[in-house]
């Protein structure tokens, strides 16, 4: 049980802090949330600066501890969010790094790290949500090309992405987990229609993709044909690992801000509110420690984060919703004001117990894979 960092890690942290302090004031103003091309330019520009300063490689290849420090410090300093680079850096990138050929890694990884190329994700389908493996987008082999038709949903940055990591069904007769293939789809290929999808938060953050005989070269396949499910699980367990580090740091900051707001509007004097915020302080401190525990574990095992990520996600998604419920309790009637940052954040927080595996699915995973409870008949 050692929570101290090595001299090298401390040096990395100090260097990063110094660099951030110098570079952040020089950033251009943030683009409008609805300006997708502007957001791409902003996000990839930031990524390019990280690359040039040598910080891009922290996303894979580097130790999990360095990644933890990187995410902690960038969030603390108020650096731009990963944004348009999310799928490239945290989903497609790690997948290609782990499962791609030498050639594929050379082709796709560097542009992601440099902020030259943006990826989006084509996993979910309207009829395959929790049951992701039930996806029906079909890919039929035609010589050295896959011809793909179907529909995908919940795709971010689709409007400005260069690539889409796509799951398709290549063998409709195989058991559902065994007929899936992972493809990299160029977003400028003919046959792709992008339609914005409005969420309950009122944002057009996501899109639907309609694919009509899109032709994708066989060389864009990562992993073997029909082995896409296994290939994908690498990505998903990665997401459940350290992907939330920055968010937990941010939640702890928001909690302090909520306490400040409570002081200001007098609700701090109400012990019910104070206890609610106090309990959340203990909660987010513990979640931070749990992240450190998970990172240590993945450093030891050398692999991607294990199912322990499900434990974290179950608790964190709930805690995040409680955080914004507490914000609403402090705000009172102002919680109905969309002009308040926390009101919009509260609405987005609702997706946390649903996206990337509902809490119900996560509980099945924990019960069956960690605790060894039997599957139901």
């Amino acid at each position: 049980m050692d929570l101290s960092y090595t001299p090298e890690e401390e040096e990395f942290r100090a260097g990063l802090r110094k660099w951030l302090a110098g570079v952040l004031p020089t950033l251009p103003p943030k683009p409008d949330p609805l300006d997708w091309p502007g957001r791409r330019v902003y996000d990839t520009g930031w990524q390019r600066r990280l690359y040039d300063a040598g910080y891009a490689r922290v996303h894979w290849g580097a130790s999990a501890t360095l990644r933890l420090i990187f995410l902690e410090e960038t969030e603390r300093a108020g650096a731009p969010y990963v944004g348009a680079n999310f799928v490239g850096l945290l989903h497609a990138g790690p997948t290609i790094a782990a499962e791609g050929t030498e050639e594929q890694r050379a082709r796709w990884l560097e542009p992601v790290l440099r902020g030259d190329e943006v990826w989006c994700q084509g996993f979910s389908e309207p009829d395959a949500g929790s049951d992701l493996a039930a996806l029906r987008t079909r890919a039929v082999r035609d010589g050295d090309t896959y011809v793909v038709s179907g529909a995908k949903i919940w795709t971010s940055h689709a409007e400005v992405a260069d690539w889409c990591e796509l799951l398709v069904r290549t063998d409709p007769d195989a058991p559902k987990h065994r007929g899936i293939t992972w493809l990299a789809m160029p977003m400028d290929a003919p046959g792709i229609t992008v339609r914005p999808l409005r969420t309950l938060a009122g944002s057009d953050e996501f899109a639907q993709l309609f694919l009509d005989e899109v032709r994708i070269p066989v060389g864009h396949r990562v992993g073997a044909e029909n082995d896409g499910w296994r290939v994908t699980m690498v990505t998903l367990s990665y997401e459940r690992g350290t992907a939330f580090v920055g968010e937990v740091v941010a939640c702890r900051r928001v909690l302090v801000e909520i306490a400040r707001a409570a002081h200001k509007n007098g609700t701090w004097d109400d012990p019910v509110i104070r206890h609610q915020l106090g309990a959340l302080n203990a909660e987010f401190t513990a979640l931070w420690r749990l992240i450190q525990w998970n990172v240590s574990e993945s450093e030891r095992s050398g692999g991607p984060p294990g199912v322990g990520g499900s434990v974290f996600k179950l608790r964190y998604s709930h805690a995040r919703q409680e955080l914004y419920d507490a914000a609403a309790a402090v705000l009172g009637p102002d919680a109905l004001d969309l002009g308040r940052e926390w009101t919009a954040d509260r609405l987005s927080s609702l997706s946390y117990t649903i996206a990337a595996g509902t809490s119900q699915i996560q509980q099945n995973i924990v019960a069956e894979r960690i605790l060894g409870l039997p599957k139901g008949r």
Partner: protein, 290 residues
């Protein structure tokens, strides 16, 4: 003692539901969500149907019914997500000209907020200094009053509770219907215990709230009304929340009805008495019983 609805009450409820299904259908709801403003034609139709004059005596041109019937009406309004300052207008019937007929739109401050201030013809109460805010509920334009909300009236609280109850029932209905139809892992998701138990708890919350709201309507007791609002607030918010969980990603879209119930339930919870205030009122009642 017969706590069930009378045949007349059942007929009233069915009648209102059918009227709303005709006059405020899915298309009208979408239009309202997309910022159509208050539909004066619909308001007039509600007036013609006796929605606002319900509790006005027959001599005064009203329907002459009581709080229990008003509760049934507002349950249906909550269920249908009917927009507008319905409660303020009904409470103004007989007091503000045109309110009973649906010719005048009346609003009133409540819990630090004023609904539909810009569109209302008459404001009952002090709305000095009200500032428009970007309402989280797309069906209800809001102004924020400086300072907190003052006290409120038990009647308003009861009718708000009725709206919450209707909304809770609708969220339950939506979740159950979706759970029956949506298939994942080769069976309807409603066959999974996790979903089944979410739905069962939704029903329990709704039925407990129903008993509380209906009884409060019969007794008219202010403490019982405060308790009924507490339970109805919780039922409406949590049922909408759980309905969203049952819907999964599909509930997260702007097009699904689910989020409208959640946002409206949040809004109504801010009306007097808020849950914190309601608990204090209940504690005070306990103190009296000592």
């Amino acid at each position: 003692m017969d706590f069930q609805l009378t045949d007349e009450q059942r007929a009233l409820k069915t009648g209102v539901r059918e009227m709303l299904a005709r006059r405020f259908d899915a298309t009208a709801l979408r239009a309202a969500v997309d910022g159509g403003g208050l539909d004066r034609g619909l308001w007039r139709a509600l007036g013609d149907a006796g929605f606002f004059a319900l509790r006005l005596s027959e001599e005064a041109g009203g329907v002459g019914l009581g709080l229990p019937e008003a509760v049934l009406l507002f349950e249906e309004a909550g269920r249908a997500l009917l927009p507008g300052p319905l409660i303020a207008t009904q409470l103004a019937a007989g007091l503000v000209e045109g309110a009973a007929e649906g010719a005048t739109v009346v609003t009133a401050p409540d819990g630090g907020l004023v609904e539909w201030l810009a569109e209302a013809d008459v404001v009952r109460g002090d709305a000095t200094g009200a500032e428009p805010i970007r309402s989280a509920d797309p069906l209800t334009p809001l102004h924020r009053l400086p300072g907190g909300g003052a006290g409120g009236s038990p009647e308003r609280a009861l009718l708000t509770a009725a709206e919450q109850l209707g909304s809770a029932g609708r969220s339950t209905e939506l979740a159950v219907q979706y759970a029956r139809e949506r298939e994942q892992f080769g069976q309807p998701i409603g066959a999974f215990q996790a979903v089944k138990h979410l739905c069962a708890q939704m029903l329990v919350r709704t039925e407990v709230a129903r008993a509380a709201v209906h009884a409060a309507a019969v007794t008219g007791d202010p403490v019982e009304i405060a308790g009924a609002k507490l339970l109805a607030d919780e039922a409406a918010v949590r049922c909408a929340r759980d309905c969203l969980q049952v819907y999964g990603g599909m509930g997260f879209t702007w097009e699904a009805e689910v989020h409208l119930h959640l946002k409206r339930a949040w809004l109504r919870r801010e009306r007097w008495p808020t849950p914190a205030r309601g608990r204090e009122l209940q504690a005070a009642a306990l103190e009296e019983a000592m």
